[in-house]
């Protein structure tokens, strides 16, 4: 009899090694691929916004061609940021409870507020003040549905006197300054959701919010590099090399800091070798070998670090074409590497038992709410939104007024 039971157990759960708590022996982790996307998308928002702030707050003139594109990127991704969370909830129709009866000691309870603040008080307002004068102009010159949209977006404010435009710029500047800590808050807080779980030695870590913020900046800037290069390629324009070089420089420095902090985290883990270290070692060597060592560390960090670092030193010896390719490759690798990092944190933290005596496996499904098809849809959605936004607000056919922040196109 007992032999039969063992066989049944082995048949039903072949993907466990060692001992896992009975409640942990589910066929997939509680937080699966959708929760991988959630910090990933939020991070892209925060990073793209920081990119835009470089122009607005730190007055990096060379980046003006990507200013509006970065803002729109942040906006498109921000609209999709809560989707993976929402779809993942057991009771999605009760999600409003987080807003109306938040439990203030919970790191998750504040998400609704931080999100609403960031969307309504920072990003939407900044976009509106930045575009207000253009919207007034466009609503006069454009007819049809598009013209109607522009008219609606002006909200009836059609004053384009010099004084009012000046005020727009001033408010936009202030919003950007408020926006930087807000972006840090948005994503640092996401890091804290994981960092605050003391039950899990893979997550419970004081550096987690900072790691999340830095990797967010890296991934957001990389995404802006990609978006800018793809947009200019679609429009058959020439890439502004000065802009690209400066983006590459910021990407490099952000990556250096990110790699340093993540490295420090690992050095600390290895050196202190606290409880659960053996399981972590096993995870890094076996379970997460490809996503952690190959995806995150080698391809997502080391290779781009060498490429971008090399370009910092020998920029003038490399032709424009080669530089463009190197920037594109680095940005692509970084964007994939940060996705791998989110995977390693979220899934990695659930591949071992909290008894620290066993490990689980995760094989992603195709269909279903937590399958990779759904994840792909959620990840493609912000790009669809961004395409619409670019068509509406970065149209080549519409003239843009001279502002401290120039529109994204920079015809060579």
């Amino acid at each position: 009899m007992s032999g039969e039971i063992t066989n049944i157990v082995v048949e039903v759960m072949p993907h466990f090694e060692g001992y896992v708590y009975p409640n942990e022996a589910t066929h997939q982790p509680l937080w699966s691929v959708l929760i991988v996307l959630y910090p990933y998308i939020t991070g892209l928002v925060a990073g793209a916004f920081i990119m835009a702030s470089l122009v607005r707050v730190f007055n990096v003139k060379a980046l003006e061609p990507v200013y509006r594109l970065s803002l729109l990127t942040a906006f498109a991704f921000l609209l999709c940021a809560p989707l993976p969370l929402l779809f993942h909830l057991g009771q999605p129709f009760r999600s409003y409870q987080v807003m109306i009866t938040p439990h203030l000691t919970s790191p998750m309870a504040i998400f609704g507020f931080v999100y609403a603040w960031y969307l309504m008080a920072v990003l939407l307002l900044e976009l509106w003040f930045d575009y207000r004068r253009d919207l007034v102009e466009w609503s006069k010159t454009t007819g049809g549905f598009k013209g109607l949209l522009y008219r609606i977006f002006t909200v009836g404010v059609t004053d384009t006197s010099e004084a009012s435009v000046k005020l727009d710029h001033k408010i936009g500047h202030i919003l950007s300054i408020v926006g930087i800590p807000s972006a840090f808050l948005l994503h640092g807080y996401v890091g804290f959701i994981f960092g605050s779980v003391k039950a899990n030695p893979w997550w419970g870590n004081v550096l987690m919010p900072i790691i999340f913020i830095m990797s967010a900046m890296v991934s957001g800037i990389a995404l802006c590099v990609l978006n800018y290069m793809i947009l200019t390629w679609i429009r058959r324009r020439t890439v502004d090399m000065r802009c690209l070089d400066v983006m590459g420089m910021f990407l490099f420095y952000a990556l250096v800091v990110d790699a340093a902090i993540e490295g420090l985290d690992w050095i600390h883990r290895v050196y202190s070798a606290e409880e659960g270290f053996q399981v972590m070692q096993y995870m890094a060597r076996e379970k997460l070998f490809y996503t952690l060592n190959v995806g995150q560390a080698l391809l997502g960090t080391l290779v781009p670090l060498l490429m971008l670092g090399g370009l910092q030193l020998f920029r003038h010896r490399v032709s424009d074409l080669a530089r463009r390719r190197m920037y594109f490759m680095s940005a692509l690798l970084i964007v994939i590497g940060v996705l791998a990092m989110r995977w390693n944190v979220v899934i990695g933290g659930q591949l071992f038992s909290k008894s620290l005596r066993g490990v689980m496996s995760y094989k992603m499904e195709f269909a279903g709410m937590e399958g990779w098809f759904m994840a792909a849809i959620i990840f493609v959605l912000p790009f669809v939104i961004l395409t619409v936004l670019v068509k509406l607000f970065l149209s080549e056919k519409l003239p843009t007024t001279a502002a401290p922040s120039q529109p994204a196109e920079s015809p060579a």
């Binding site: 999605p92 998750m108 959701i193 003391k198 899990n200 909290k354």
Partner: protein, 269 residues
């Protein structure tokens, strides 16, 4: 003049007023806590959670690993089949050290197939190689500082004044944060109701003067359940505390579990 308003008496009165005002929110909170219990659990009307302090203790030396408690719990609380347990029993087998290995003890094997509900397979090592073998019943640890309560984004899981850690199933949004935060793996997401679930000490029973199902069926009294606020003559829990030196699980996490274990080995996590 006895009633004259002196500086001293005025200060005293003001102090009393301030103390009263300060106590008011605390009173309100206490009342709200009682209300919450009555609204979100199936406790009977008239049950006063402030008048009880429930606690369970485990005597590992007594447990024979029959698994009756697990089965009773599943039936009593309609816990779905599969890897979902409000309580379970782990089997520990510690090998003797290999001769000449220089080790104090050998390898430790832990298992809990189907929560221990249907017994255990033959031991992984022959009987003569076993140094120690014992069973450990697990349940919600009734933490004094529950990480699960701390992280719930809506406050659907909460500390009842009577010591139970409860979940309001009509309120839980099913985010799973509490399940991640519980260091003891005591929570699960119910696949039918899609909300978090865990041991409630059989709240519907204990509030009606009954014992939790697992305690009721335990043939060896290895689970001791009692009300610390209303001790009875020859209270088993007092005898348990007097007789044993006890330990809590994962004490380094600062959760301060109220479920204490007697006879636990260092391997028990």
């Amino acid at each position: 003049m006895k009633d004259r308003l002196t500086r001293r008496s005025l200060l005293g009165k003001l102090g009393a007023l301030a103390a009263g005002l300060a106590a008011l929110p605390a009173l309100k909170t206490a009342k709200a806590a009682v209300q919450k219990v009555l609204v979100s659990s199936n406790a009977p009307k008239g049950y006063d959670p402030t008048q009880h302090k429930w606690v369970m203790a485990i005597d590992i030396n007594q447990c024979i690993g029959c698994g009756s408690c697990v089965e009773a719990c599943k039936k009593e609380n309609k816990v779905p089949q599969g890897p979902y347990f409000r309580t379970w029993v782990e089997r520990y087998v510690i090998e003797k050290p290999k001769p000449g290995s220089g080790e104090a003890r050998g390898k430790t094997h832990v298992d809990s197939p189907d929560g221990g509900m249907r017994g255990y397979p033959a031991t992984p090592v022959p009987k003569e190689d076993i140094l120690h073998s014992f069973f450990v019943p697990k349940l919600c640890n009734l933490c004094e500082h529950s990480p699960c309560v701390q992280v719930c984004p809506v406050g659907a899981t909460f500390d009842a004044p009577d010591g139970a850690v409860l979940i309001d199933p009509k309120y839980c949004i099913g985010c799973g944060f509490c399940i991640q935060a519980c260091p003891y793996g005591c929570r699960f997401l119910n696949p039918v109701t899609h909300v978090a679930e865990k041991c409630s000490l059989c709240y519907h029973r204990i509030t009606r003067g009954l014992q939790p199902a697992c305690v009721e069926v335990c043939p060896t009294q290895s689970r001791i359940f009692s009300d610390l606020k209303n001790p009875v003559p020859n209270d088993p829990i007092q005898a348990f505390y007097a007789k044993h030196r006890v330990t809590a699980l994962k004490p380094h996490l600062g959760t301060d579990p109220r479920v204490l274990y007697a006879g636990a080995d260092r391997e028990v996590q």
